[in-house]
Every structure is written in structure tokens, then in C-alpha cells.
């Protein structure tokens, strides 16, 4: 298979393992193979190209799409049906609800002439979703060969290790195959492989080299790197196109592209700026600093009382309730921090995260921090609810309104400080952690 090496790079050992596992077409292969490795380590690609180039009968199913058992089973059966009867083109939809039916129907389908004498491969991509389905699915697929008594091999693809799959009732152990991460050399080789037709391979390889130098520390995802490479390539070529530098003038090209790539790392890589906006910026030759990223829009405009409700919620979440007296009563006397505290309260509440508080405490704090009198009107209560829908507060536990609901405040300190500043409320003075 000489052309396989040209298509699948840097995965020679895995390919040969798989090939030897598959054996000849009519041989029975290992019942189930479990392939795992990081994102974009070529699991899907290798399996797919291998099965295609060897022209083996196979079904490729992505488990994310099949969110119910029925969808998954029917998809496998229908595709197999299509494989077996491709010439006639008959398309009767098979319905199948349970795994038991599946085994029965599977036997029928694979009885066809062109599937009978060779191994059928079922590939389940994103196999981790199988764990959320009915408990019998995973063990069932693992020993499908035995259950159906047909020449079939199930291949699982996943990003999670096999130990996380193993059901506690025990099951048939699959053959586990690990796809290690690509090394920087591998990445270089693969990325340089698809160079644009109008430039030489060396020129593109030099570009990839610079790109990896910037991005390798933060991102090893091949897909993402390829995407970034394409996005920024026009900028790299710019001096050449303008005639300011030749293709061999690497130093000049490097000086041109390096700051640009660093900016890309802070913006487009984090999806602060979308790729199309980035491309447009490149074309117009603008400074990307002008465009504000997603995180720049942190300001949220809230009604006056909502701001105070949020502040009260924050105080209730981050102050121990015993300190309320000290903050909100006029004649509280002095409380010394060290004597007053229980041991576990000595750690900063901001490190521990927000604590749940009952609605009444929120209202009590609200009444004492708002200058004017606030009546507990329906509008106030509906504001609390709408803050919950905005995810600024969260309802903890059951949502029975009569039993005294409990909330947590989910906003950050910076956010609440910005809010408090707009209503001239010095929140730091009221926070126990900052006393």
C-alpha cells in the first residue's frame, strides 16, 4: 500500500498495528478495538482512510449525533443495509428499538452475499457518549462478534482512557490502542504537507516553523493550528507580494509576521475576534487593537434596585451570616476579627466561592443598604427571578417558593465593584474578607 504512507503521515506504527489486527478480508479479527488519544491526534482520520483505502465494508457513526439508542442502532443497520444492497438501491427503513432487535436484524442484514465472507467494521466515533446511554450498550457492542456470530469488529474512538469506560459489572476487554500526541517535528511535517500551490514547499515550511514557534506552547491541536496557519498566511506573504522581500529573505519575513502572530494568539485564537473579522482586518491592514474583543463588553446595565439586589446577594454570599450584625446594625460594637472567627472561617471567603443564602437574608440586607425605603413589591421579587434567568444569581436546590428559596450570587468581585461604583456604594467596606 504505497499510497497510504503519503496520505497518513507520522502514524506508521499505529497503521501497521491496525493492519495486522485486521488481517486478511475473510479472517476473523479481534472483536473490539478501543482507540484513544488527545484531540486531533488523527484517530478518526487514520481509521477512516485505512478502511477506505483498503476498501473494507464499514459503517462510520458519530455518537454525538445519535442521542438516543434508537437513532444509533437504526443508523448502523440502515447503512449496513445500504452497503449490502447498494446495487439494487432498495431503501426500506429498518426500525429497531432495543439491542436485542439489533442483534437479530444485524444477522439478517449481514447475511447478504457481499458481506458474508468478510469482516464488517463498525466504527463508533466519540464513544464516550455511549456511557450515557443504556447500560447494556457498551458491553453489547464489545462482544458483538460473539452475540451475532458474524465476522464483525467494532472500533471505538474516544479521547478518554479505557479505564473510565469499564462498567463495574465487568465486560469483554477490547484491544486498546493509544495514539500519542504529535511531536513538534510531526506537526511541522504534517502542516507543511499541505502547502498552497502557488508557493514552494520550503517557503511554506519556513512559515510553519515560525508559526509553531509562537503557538506550540499554547496549542497542540492540529486542526486549530492548520486554521491559524491559513488565516495568517496572507500576512506572511505580504512582503513577497509587494516585492519588498524575496521568498528566501526569512529574517525580514520573520520580523514582519512575529508580532502579528502574537496578536493573533491573544485575539483570534481565543475567539475574542472571529476569524472573518481577523481576515478583514488583515485586508484593510488595520491594527487589531481597535476592534474590541468579546471580553471587552463586560458592562451590564441594570435597573437601580436590581443593582442593589445584586450587591446584597453578593454580600450575603461572601459574608458569614454572623457578621451581618456588625455590618448592618448601627450600634454593633467592635468585633475583633481574630477572636470572633471560627477556625474554618479564617480562610478567605473569596477563595471558597459563594455560599447559598435564604431569600429573607437577601431582603434584609437589601433594606439596610438602600437609602430610601423599599417596599417588598411584586416588582422586587420579579427582579430577583429575572436576575436568576440572567444567571447572575442561581437558585440552589429545590425551587419550592414557599419553603424559603436559597440563592447564590455568581458574579465576580470586579463585576460587583463596577456595579457598586455606579450607585456610589463602597462595597469593599462591607466585605468581611477585606476588613
Amino acid at each position: 500500500m504505497p499510497h497510504l504512507e503519503n496520505v497518513v503521515l507520522c502514524r506508521e506504527s499505529q497503521v501497521s498495528t491496525l493492519q495486522s489486527l485486521f488481517g486478511e478480508r475473510h479472517h476473523f479479527s479481534f472483536p473490539s478495538i478501543f482507540i484513544y488519544g488527545h484531540t486531533a491526534s488523527g484517530k478518526t482520520y487514520v481509521t477512516q482512510t485505512l478502511l477506505k483505502t483498503l476498501e473494507l465494508p464499514h459503517v462510520f457513526v458519530n455518537c454525538v449525533e445519535c442521542f438516543t439508542l434508537r437513532l444509533l442502532l437504526e443508523q448502523i443497520l440502515n447503512r449496513l443495509n445500504y452497503l449490502s444492497s447498494s446495487e439494487e438501491g432498495c431503501s426500506t427503513e429498518i426500525t429497531c428499538d432495543t439491542f436485542n432487535d439489533f442483534v437479530r436484524l444485524f444477522k439478517q442484514v449481514t447475511n447478504a452475499k457481499n458481506l458474508k465472507d468478510q469482516t464488517v467494521y463498525i466504527v463508533l466515533d466519540k464513544a464516550e457518549y455511549l456511557r450515557d446511554m443504556e447500560a447494556n450498550i457498551l458491553p453489547g457492542f464489545l462482544r458483538l462478534q460473539e452475540l451475532t456470530d458474524r465476522n464483525v469488529t467494532v472500533i471505538f474512538l474516544s479521547e478518554i482512557i479505557w479505564e473510565k469506560f469499564r462498567p463495574n459489572t465487568g465486560c469483554f476487554e477490547p484491544f486498546v490502542l493509544y495514539f500519542p500526541d504529535y511531536s513538534i517535528g510531526n506537526l511541522q511535517k504534517i502542516l507543511s504537507h499541505d502547502h498552497p500551490p502557488e508557493y514552494s514547499a520550503d517557503f511554506y515550511a519556513a512559515y510553519i516553523n515560525i508559526l509553531l514557534g509562537v503557538f506550540y506552547t499554547v496549542c497542540r491541536d492540529l486542526k486549530e493550528l492548520r486554521h491559524l496557519a491559513v488565516l495568517n498566511f496572507p500576512k506572511y506573504c505580504e512582503p513577497v507580494v509587494k516585492g519588498e522581500a524575496s521568498e528566501r529573505d526569512t529574517r525580514k519575513l520573520w520580523r514582519n509576521i512575529e508580532p502579528h502572530l502574537k496578536k493573533a494568539m491573544q485575539t483570534v485564537y481565543l475567539r475574542e475576534i472571529s476569524s472573518s473579522q481577523w481576515e478583514k482586518l488583515q485586508q484593510d491592514d488595520q491594527d487589531p487593537g481597535q476592534l474590541e474583543g468579546l471580553s471587552a463588553y463586560t458592562h451590564v446595565e441594570l435597573p437601580y434596585y436590581s443593582k442593589f439586589i445584586l450587591i446584597a446577594a453578593y454580600l450575603a454570599s461572601y459574608n458569614p451570616s454572623r457578621t451581618d450584625k456588625r455590618f448592618f446594625l448601627k450600634h454593633h460594637g467592635k468585633i475583633k476579627k481574630t477572636n470572633f472567627l471560627k477556625k474554618h472561617e479564617k480562610t478567605s471567603n473569596h477563595l471558597l466561592g459563594p455560599k447559598p443564602f435564604p431569600l429573607d437574608r437577601l431582603l434584609a440586607i437589601l433594606y439596610s443598604i438602600v437609602d430610601s425605603r423599599v417596599a417588598p413589591t411584586a416588582n422586587i421579587f420579579s427582579q430577583i427571578t429575572s436576575l436568576v434567568t440572567l444567571q447572575l444569581l442561581t437558585l440552589v436546590g429545590h425551587d419550592d417558593q414557599l419553603d424559603g428559596p436559597k440563592y447564590k450570587c455568581t458574579v465576580s468581585l470586579d463585576f460587583i465593584r463596577a456595579i457598586a461604583r455606579t450607585v456610589n456604594f463602597d462595597i469593599i467596606k462591607y466585605l468581611y474578607d477585606f476588613l
Binding site: T39, N62, V64, E65, C66, F67, T68, R70, L71, Q75, E93, D194, P196, P197, E198, K223, E224, R226, H227, A229, V230, L231, F233, L270, R271, S274, S275, S276, Q277, L294, S295, Y297, T298, H299, V300, E301, L302, P303, Y304, Y305, S306, D360, A364, A375, P376, T377, A378, N379, I380, F381, S382, Q383, S386, T389, L390, Q391, Q401, L402, D403, G404
Partner: protein, 709 residues
């Protein structure tokens, strides 16, 4: 309808079939309750006419306000899949990740208004981009299955082909909405669409129109559903050109909070910001209230309530307009003379047909009485006795009221031009604040006005000129020529200022110190410079020509204000066009359920109106409903309530009343009955959420409200 409940609230009534058949026309409700109501039908009709006008005006306005946002969104939608349409074999396009174009639409926290925006957005997209627009909200999509089902069914509805509809319903039943079936359906539809070209669709130039999916409330979606959907649809993007629109109420950071990098890297997100709701409110007030287009006006208190509900509670324009509608309705319902609240010629016509009762109503108006008192004796007599004379007089009064309004709004706008640029905004930054102050009292009596005038006397020349120019255009913008002479006067002043140019320069060169006073200043510097100016005056230094002129301008605007910005109470017949019942509005719009419940339980007389229940503060009448007695007793307890003690106290209170009349029943039976009544009262309190059983002590219940000891 009556209920046996003691609390205010919503009650479900099962429809009574007999009653249903005799449907009462809406206008009949205007008759109910008020015996003295006159012309109720006419009033109802007038209400409807004015409300329709107001409604169409607001809709038009909202359309205009949204236009910018929609235009840019539509541009984004149109270009976002154009790259895919080309089916390009370009090197870059093959390698690049296929990202789902996504518009993050930041709409602000006024969630109630979003529905309207989304509705008009859908319309706009359907007219300009693609027929396939789907709106989803989080509560319909608890998991990916429901998500896709909803998407599927709505898409089917978008594609309205009468003959194929039945067929499609079947398809939907059979295939349980996987993304596969969705994209194959889409292929089918677009191909058949190509076969028979459509005339109406503007999107027909597109080979395959994109599918726009609007997620109305991004914040409420669960992470898992969104993630799975994005992963699935990004794999199908080739066959199924999807565009997402996220409706975001808070800030776009929520996208990063909901989606991990692996998923958000599948999106190509652009941000679109809608108009801030405060600006929106300003326009609404400007178009609906600060105009003579609608005869209806709000009093200061009512306007204050409506704006404060908006600013303090919800930021919702819809609610503001609802409040406005309510006050309009209430005005026409409660004020018999509101028949005159219509455009001037119509009102004049109606006066001629007023009944005797209505004439009496006019005479009873406080503002009219004040007016009468100022007249000469013969005229007074005529006004109070002669109907015809009264009607004529009323016509002329209405006319002057109309003139008053026309001038009022023009001068108000002019004054706003002056005060809105002052440092620290002594009279408010927004015109609505200024309007409120002017409605409330004589504005020139207020301290803020005085300080504003002081500041105006410090204005620099160029500022003064731009303000005057704006005022001039404001005055010219009105069609009615009431203030024509004023406009002319301003023009004159402007010309004078311009001609000063050369002279002023010389003056300034001569005395450099004076230029200090001309700059825009803050309060501290103002004081300082005022002192300086006093100093100058004392030394007898002459003012420059510019200063003289500026003084003239300020005096001029002051005189305008004093002449035209009189509070409406001073105008006779103002009751006919001003809605003043702020209290009713407050009760309806800002309900306090807790307070109502507390009043009902604490003071049952308030709702039941039974004389027996009248009691002094603090004591418990023993004839009150059981739940009230139990409630009052529980108010005196702390966090945990001992049931035995409570029951004892309850029995004591109740038996105090029944000692006299319950001789026939044996004491044991009576005790049982009281016990049962107590149990029922407690369980009712539990249902209302005042107490709940606690696990800490078995014979205790916990209080859920605070207060007491």
C-alpha cells in the same frame, strides 16, 4: 366576582356557561360602578382612537430605532454564507475550519422587550435573507432531542407549501429528527424550490438560502445542549448552512462561560449591540408625551411613577407603554369630562352636545372654580347659570389650553437646550427630568433654576451661539406659528452675537482677565469667578458688549420660561386632559403581595368591611377568622413556635367570644372543635408560606418570615 378568600390575589373562576352567552360589550364596563358617568360610550371610543394612534406611533418609532441594528445584522447574514455558496476550490477554504457564523446580539436586561425585537427581526430576515428562520428558547429545549424536534417542526412551518405539508408531517413522525434527516430534508426542499422558481422571494438568487436559528435567551440554555448542538451542526455545515443568532441579555462573556474552547472555536462570532433602553425611553417620552399630537397628558406624579418603575425596577419599554395605556384607560374611565380629551375641533363640537350634568361637572372642577372667581360678578353669574354662555366660554378655554400646550413644549425644549449642557446638570440631564420639575411647580422658584441661570451667565460665546441656533431650529420645527416672534427675536440675538465677533476680540485683548469668565467652568471655579466679577463690578469696570448681550439672552429665556412654563394646574379645565390619579396607578403597577397579605391577616376589616372586625391596634378581636387569630398570635413568637402553647393561646382567644352562646355543646366537644379549627388555621398558614414543620423539634413549627422578637 366574589371570593371567600381574605387575601387579594388572582383567582380562577370556572366559566359559567349561561353567563358566557350574554357577552358584555367592552364599552359597557365603562358604565359600571359610576352612576354619574356621562357619555361613557363616547369616552370609550375616544380612548380607543387615541390608544390606536399612540400604539401605531410607538411601533413606527421602534422600527426606526431598530433599523440600524437590523441593517447591520442583515448585512452580516447575507455575507456570512456567501463564501460557502461559491463552493470554492481555493486552497485556504479547503483547509480552514468551517466555522458556524454567529451573531451575538446584546439586547440589555429588559427581557420583556426582547420578544418584540425578535419578532420584527424575524420579519426583516424573512423579507431580506431567507425564509428559514427559527426561534428557540431555553425552556423548550431541556435536551438535545427536544431541541432538534423544535427546530425541525418550526423549519417545516417556515416552508409553507400547502400540498406538501401533510406529507412532511408524516416524515417528521417517522424520522425522529436526527441532524441527518434534517439536512436531507433541507436538500430536498431547496432542490425542489430550484425546480419551480418563486416570484415573491427575494432570496431566490441564492442557491441554498441559509437557515437562521435564533436562540432567544442564551443565558438560560444548558451547556450540554448547546455544546452538543454546535458540535453536531458544525459537522453538517456543508449540507446545512446554519447561522446562529444568540440573544444575550447580559454580556458576551457568557459565551465563554457556557462553551469550552473546543466548542467556541467552531463559531465565528460577531457582536451586535442594540440601542440602550434609556435612550429608547427618552424617545418614547419625546414622541408620546412632549407633543401636542395627543391631547392626553400625565401629571407630574404619574409620570414620576412610570419613569421610576422603569428606572428602578425593570428597564422595560413595553411595561412603560402598558403603564401609559393603563393611565389613559383610567383617565377616560374615571373622569367624565374626558370626552373633551380629543383634538381641538372635535372637542369644540362635542361641547355643544354636553348634557346638563356634564355642565355641572365642568362647574365643579377646581380649576374652573378658580377661574370663575377671578371674573367679574356678572360674568360669574352667567357662567354659573347660563349653559350656553358656559359652553362658549369652555370652547375658548379649551382653545387657550391648546395654545398653552403648544407653547409649553416648545419653550420646554428650548430651556432643555440651555440646561442640558451645563456642568453638573442642575436641572437634570434628560428632558423628562426638566419636564417633571416644570409640571410640579413654578420652576423659577426653585434653587436649581437660579443656579442654572447663574451658570448660563458664564457661557462662552460659541456655546451660547450653538444653543441659540438649536433653539431657533426647535422653534422653527413646529408648524404652528404661536412663537413666531420669539424665533425672530432669537434670530436677531444670533445676528448680534455674530456681528460682535470683531469687537469682542479687541475687548479681549484689552482685558485678558475677562476671558477667564467666558470659559465653561465647574462649580468651584464658578464661585471664584463670580466673586471676581463682583469685584470687577465694584471697581466700576464696564461690562463688555458680549456680556451685555449674554445678559440679554439669559433674561430673554428667563422671561420665556416665566411666561410659558406655568404648571398645568394654573390652567382652567386642565383636569380634562391631565391624568392625575397617581395612587390608583401605583396600586395597579407596583403591587405589594406581602403587604396585602399582611394587611388581610392582620387587619381583616380592611378587606371584609365587617363592622364587628373593627379593632384597635394590637388587640385581637375574637370574632375574626381563625387564620387571622392564628396569624396574629404567631407574630409574637420567635423563630420556632411551640404548637401546644400556640394552641392554648388560640383557644383562650376564641373561647373568650363563645362563652355566652355555646352552652348547648359539652366542653369536651367544644374543645375538639377548637382544636380542629386551630389545626386548619395552622395548615392554612403553612400553605401561605408563613410556617413550616421543622425537624429540629418535633412539636414545633418554624416561622418563615422575620420580625417579631
Amino acid at each position: 366576582m366574589a371570593t371567600s378568600s381574605v387575601s387579594k390575589g388572582c383567582f380562577v373562576f370556572k366559566p359559567n356557561f349561561k353567563k358566557r352567552k350574554i357577552s358584555v360589550p367592552i364599552e359597557e364596563y365603562f358604565n359600571e360602578g359610576k352612576n354619574e358617568s356621562e357619555d361613557s360610550k363616547l369616552r370609550f371610543e375616544t380612548y380607543q382612537v387615541i390608544w390606536q394612534q399612540m400604539k401605531s406611533e410607538t411601533e413606527k418609532m421602534q422600527e426606526e430605532l431598530n433599523k440600524n441594528l437590523f441593517d447591520s445584522l442583515i448585512k452580516f447574514l447575507q455575507k456570512s454564507h456567501s463564501g460557502f455558496q461559491k463552493n470554492s476550490r481555493d486552497w485556504g477554504c479547503q483547509i480552514k475550519l468551517r466555522e458556524i457564523p454567529t451573531a451575538a446580539l446584546i439586547l440589555g436586561v429588559n427581557v420583556t422587550d426582547h420578544e418584540f425585537t425578535f419578532r420584527s427581526l424575524t420579519e426583516a430576515i424573512q423579507n431580506n435573507v431567507t425564509p428559514y428562520v427559527v426561534k428557540l428558547q431555553a425552556r423548550d429545549c431541556p435536551d438535545i432531542k427536544h431541541f432538534l424536534q423544535k427546530l425541525f417542526s418550526q423549519l417545516m412551518d417556515c416552508h409553507v407549501d400547502v400540498e406538501s405539508k401533510e406529507e412532511e408531517k408524516d416524515i417528521q413522525k417517522k424520522t425522529h429528527c436526527s441532524m441527518d434527516s434534517l439536512s436531507s430534508w433541507y436538500m430536498n426542499v431547496t432542490q425542489t424550490d430550484q425546480g419551480k422558481p418563486r416570484k415573491k422571494r427575494t432570496s431566490s438568487q441564492w442557491q441554498s438560502p441559509p437557515v437562521v436559528l435564533i436562540l432567544k435567551d442564551m443565558e438560560s440554555f444548558t451547556t450540554k445542549v448547546l455544546q452538543d448542538f454546535i458540535i453536531i451542526s458544525s459537522q453538517h455545515l456543508h449540507e446545512f448552512p446554519l447561522i446562529l443568532i444568540f440573544g444575550i441579555a447580559t454580556s458576551p462573556v457568557i459565551i465563554h462561560r457556557l462553551l469550552p474552547h473546543a466548542v467556541s472555536s467552531l463559531l465565528c462570532i460577531e457582536i451586535f449591540q442594540s440601542l440602550s433602553c434609556k435612550e429608547h425611553l427618552t424617545t418614547v417620552i419625546d414622541k408620546l408625551l412632549l407633543t401636542t399630537q395627543f391631547p392626553f397628558n400625565l401629571s407630574e406624579k404619574v409620570l414620576q411613577i412610570l419613569t421610576s418603575i422603569f428606572l428602578y425596577y425593570d428597564f422595560s419599554i413595553q411595561n412603560f407603554i402598558k403603564g401609559l395605556q393603563l393611565s389613559l384607560l383610567e383617565h377616560f374611565y374615571s373622569q367624565p369630562l374626558s370626552v373633551l380629551c380629543c383634538n381641538l375641533p372635535e372637542a369644540k363640537r362635542r361641547i355643544n352636545f354636553l348634557s346638563d350634568n356634564q355642565c355641572e361637572n365642568i362647574r365643579r372642577l377646581p380649576s374652573f372654580r378658580r377661574y370663575v372667581e377671578k371674573q367679574a360678578t356678572e360674568k360669574q353669574v352667567a357662567l354659573l347659570t347660563n349653559e350656553r354662555f358656559l359652553k362658549e366660554e369652555t370652547q375658548s378655554l379649551l382653545e387657550s389650553l391648546h395654545v398653552y400646550h403648544t407653547n409649553y413644549f416648545l419653550v420646554l425644549r428650548c430651556l432643555h437646550q440651555f440646561t442640558s449642557s451645563l456642568p453638573k446638570y442642575p436641572l437634570g440631564r434628560q428632558i423628562r427630568e426638566l419636564y417633571c420639575t416644570c409640571l410640579e411647580k413654578n420652576i423659577w422658584d426653585s434653587e436649581e433654576y437660579a443656579s442654572a441661570l447663574q451658570l448660563l451667565r458664564m457661557l462662552a460665546k460659541d456655546e451660547l451661539m450653538t444653543i441659540l441656533q438649536k433653539c431657533f431650529s426647535v422653534l422653527n420645527s413646529s408648524s404652528e406659528k404661536q412663537l413666531g416672534s420669539t424665533a425672530k427675536r432669537i434670530e436677531e440675538l444670533l445676528a448680534q452675537l455674530q456681528s460682535l465677533d470683531a469687537e469682542v476680540k479687541e475687548e479681549e485683548d484689552a482685558s485678558g482677565s475677562q476671558s477667564k469668565g467666558l470659559q465653561k467652568t465647574d462649580l468651584y471655579h464658578l464661585q471664584k469667578s463670580l466673586l471676581e466679577m463682583k469685584e470687577l463690578r465694584r471697581t466700576g469696570k464696564k461690562q463688555t458688549k458680549f456680556e451685555v448681550l449674554r445678559e440679554k439672552v439669559v433674561n430673554f429665556i428667563d422671561s420665556l420660561v416665566r411666561e410659558y412654563l406655568l404648571p398645568p394646574e394654573t390652567q382652567p379645565l386642565y383636569e380634562a386632559v391631565y391624568f392625575t390619579a397617581a395612587h390608583t396607578l401605583h396600586e395597579h403597577l407596583n403591587a405589594a403581595p406581602r403587604l396585602a397579605l399582611h394587611t388581610a391577616l392582620n387587619n381583616p376589616y380592611y378587606y371584609l368591611k365587617n363592622e364587628v372586625l373593627k379593632s384597635e391596634e394590637g388587640c385581637i378581636p375574637n370574632v375574626a377568622p381563625d387564620i387571622c387569630i392564628a396569624y396574629k398570635l404567631h407574630l409574637e413568637c420567635s423563630r420556632l413556635i411551640n404548637l401546644v402553647d400556640w394552641s392554648e393561646a388560640f383557644a383562650t382567644v376564641v373561647t373568650a367570644a363563645e362563652k355566652t352562646d355555646a352552652n348547648s355543646v359539652t366542653s369536651e366537644e367544644r374543645n375538639d372543635i377548637i382544636h380542629a379549627r386551630f389545626i386548619r388555621a395552622v395548615s392554612e398558614l403553612e400553605l401561605l408560606g408563613f410556617v413550616k414543620p421543622t425537624k429540629r423539634k418535633t412539636d414545633h413549627v418554624a416561622r418563615l418570615t422575620w420580625g417579631g422578637c
